[in-house]
């Protein structure tokens, strides 16, 4: 079988990011593979390690630096990768339109997409890709068992979880708890340098498939909310200060 994992490179949430004039200042930021995409890579690797005869292909859209995130996936154990190179960001619908024909050309049986992209906090790419392909989709997936031509999944819903059976091919988006992604081993990092990373220009990919590579979402403005701390100092001895703190937490902040 063939498994495609969709990757996105996002700013490292653990590093400091500066905001400037109401927008993010990404100069000097470190970028990493999206954590929820890593769940997808890990799950694909586990399916293969569980005995499935699977080729795993990573597929990513993004600027040149995206190749670093792709190398991480290759170092984790993905066999080869396709990078659709485009400098300007695309919305989820346009990204899905561009990637869907490539997924189909690969002859994929199963596609993993991160449940939510950490940069814009959008959860639309997985469903949009499933729609573009016309394939069934399980979102917020926390458990997955591969059967004969079908997939049994458990996924989160508002009130708890559901168990679904999907015919293949299918799109699965990940949820925290699906697995614990591995660290790449050093020998695999070195092997990753020799693996195939096929880079294609966005325009050519879109033209070949006859789809539009233009976002339909228009970004009018973005504002980063920032709040000043109140810096309240409670005076008095420890016992009365503690009592005052409890009073404020209960009566004013209403968190107790």
């Amino acid at each position: 079988m063939k498994i495609v994992t969709i990757l996105k490179q996002v700013p490292d949430a653990e590093a400091r990011v500066r905001s400037k004039d109401g927008t993010l200042d990404l100069s000097g930021a470190t970028f990493v593979i999206d954590g929820m995409d890593e769940y997808g890579v890990e799950e694909a690797l586990r399916i293969r390690e569980g005995g499935a005869d699977a080729e795993i292909v990573a597929l990513a859209f993004g600027p040149k630096r995206t190749a670093e995130a792709i190398r991480t996936a290759l170092a984790m154990g993905v066999d080869r990768a396709v990078h659709v190179l485009g400098d300007e960001p695309l919305d989820a619908l346009a990204t899905a339109r561009v990637l869907a024909p490539l997924v189909r050309d690969e002859g994929a049986d199963l596609v993993f997409v991160g449940g939510k992209q950490a940069d814009w906090d959008s959860a639309a790419l997985g469903p949009a890709l499933a729609e573009a392909l016309g394939w069934p989709h399980s979102d917020w997936t926390t458990s997955l068992t591969l059967g004969d031509g079908a997939l049994e999944v458990i996924h989160d819903v508002d009130d708890g979880s559901e168990t679904l059976t999907l015919p293949l091919p299918a799109v699965v988006t990940t949820q925290q708890g699906l697995n614990e992604p591995r660290y790449p081993t050093l020998p695999n990092i070195m092997k990753a340098k020799r693996k195939t990373l096929d880079t294609r220009a966005l325009d050519e990919v879109a033209a070949a498939a006859g789809v539009s590579a233009t976002s339909t979402t228009e970004l009018r403005s973005a504002v980063i909310e920032s709040r000043a701390r109140r810096n309240v100092m409670i005076e008095g001895d420890a016992a009365s200060a503690a009592a005052e703190l409890v009073r404020r937490l209960r009566d004013e902040a209403k968190v107790l």
């Binding site: 991480t72 170092a75 660290y183 790449p184 081993t185 050093l186 020998p187 990092i189 070195m190």
Partner: protein, 372 residues
């Protein structure tokens, strides 16, 4: 590779460093994971399960581990260093096949037994003996400060096969844990690096078969001397890592901590100190990388390795001391990491040759280079 190891070290090792300092134990769980990643057989060839990288790559990764926890980096440098390097270079095919894959994977940790209670830097003066008996040797004597004592599975032991022959009478033996006559003292009380458990190791008429001798009889001293350069570069890298952790902590603290209405980094007394710390750290790293880079190209690096080790270890003491000062009273508190870094750094000026020995080596090389 550096980023992958940094990520691992930050997430898996750094969070347990303070606990390991307070409640010392040999960190097997994280060591095994380091083995899985390939960090314990970095310079061994792939055919023996190693990662097959060069010295420069090794020191870059060792710095990452040291920046998370010095004890882990000490254990990492010991097991990557002499045990694997010497077996690779002097071992029989059987010895290599038996030992190297286990060491590279972290299934085994290796220990190097040269130092004795009365001699460290004067390696020819050891008194542990290996007396010939039928089929092998009987080892008798005591080694001191053995990192991994009681925990490691493989001990490379330097012992005199010819007690009167000085340096030429030293041979090297492979002793596996569990051998009859192998005893360990209790963990030594140390200023820092508490999880890098070190004990005395005693050989009580311990029989080693002929096949467990590494290299030829009398080759032991040369073996330990030719590998000193690599070991010193490793300690330099470790010192750089510890210093980096201290500098990073001081930079962050000086930004957050306010006094007299502004972050203390605004005060020249603090910012100049940070500038000096950063400059020495960078110089130490560059000396370390230079020594590693030259070694990878086949140059003799006795002087360069000693310079890197000397400068980096003294820089680590300077930088960690400076970090304590920047933290003020909190720098003295065990609630913050810098007092631990200060203690962890100190030994880098002592082991693998004290700073005084490094100066002796550098001084001698200055004349040797000119043929005097």
């Amino acid at each position: 590779m550096q980023l992958a190891v940094r990520d691992f070290a930050r997430n898996e090792i750094a969070p347990i460093a303070a606990t390991l300092d307070r409640e010392p134990r040999f960190p097997w769980e994280t060591l095994r994971r380091m083995g899985d990643l390939g960090l314990l057989g970095l310079m061994s060839p792939e055919e023996y399960g190693g990662a097959g990288i060069d010295t420069l790559g090794y020191v870059v990764l060792l710095e990452e581990i040291a920046a998370a926890d010095a004890s882990h980096s000490t254990i990492m440098s010991v097991t990557n260093g002499l045990p694997q390097q010497l077996i690779l270079r002097y071992g029989t095919p059987e010895q290599r096949t038996r030992c190297l894959p286990k060491l590279a994977s972290g299934e085994w940790i290796g220990a190097f037994c040269l130092t004795e209670p009365h001699c460290g830097s004067d390696a020819a003066a050891i008194t542990t003996r290996a007396d010939r008996v039928e089929g092998g040797y009987l080892l008798r004597g005591t080694k001191a400060w053995i990192t991994g004592g009681g925990e490691a599975q493989l001990y490379l032991v330097m012992a005199k096969t010819e007690p009167d022959a000085g340096a030429r009478g030293v041979s090297c033996f492979l002793v596996e844990k569990g051998a009859e006559g192998l005893h360990f003292g209790p963990p030594e009380g140390k200023l820092g690096q508490h999880a890098a458990i070190a004990t005395s190791v005693t050989f009580d008429d311990l029989f080693v078969p002929e096949e467990a001798r590494l290299g030829d009889e009398g080759q032991g001293f040369v073996m330990s001397m030719t590998s000193l350069d690599g070991g010193r570069i490793g300690i330099a890298a470790q010192a750089v890592g510890i210093a980096r952790a201290a500098l990073d902590a001081a930079i962050a603290y000086a930004d957050d901590r306010e006094a007299f209405g502004q972050p203390i980094r605004e005060f020249q007394g603090v910012s100049f100190k940070l500038a000096d710390m950063a400059t020495r750290l960078d110089a130490a790293r560059l000396l370390t990388w230079r020594a590693a880079w030259l070694k990878d190209r086949g140059y003799r690096v006795t002087k360069e390795a000693s310079m890197a080790k000397l400068f980096a270890s003294e820089a680590a003491s300077f930088v960690t001391d400076g970090a304590v000062q920047v933290f003020g009273g909190y720098g003295y508190s065990t609630d913050f990491p810098v007092e631990r870094l200060f203690r962890d750094a100190r030994v880098t000026e002592l082991y693998e040759g004290t700073s005084e020995i490094q100066r002796v080596v550098i001084g001698r090389q200055l004349y040797r280079e000119q043929g005097r």
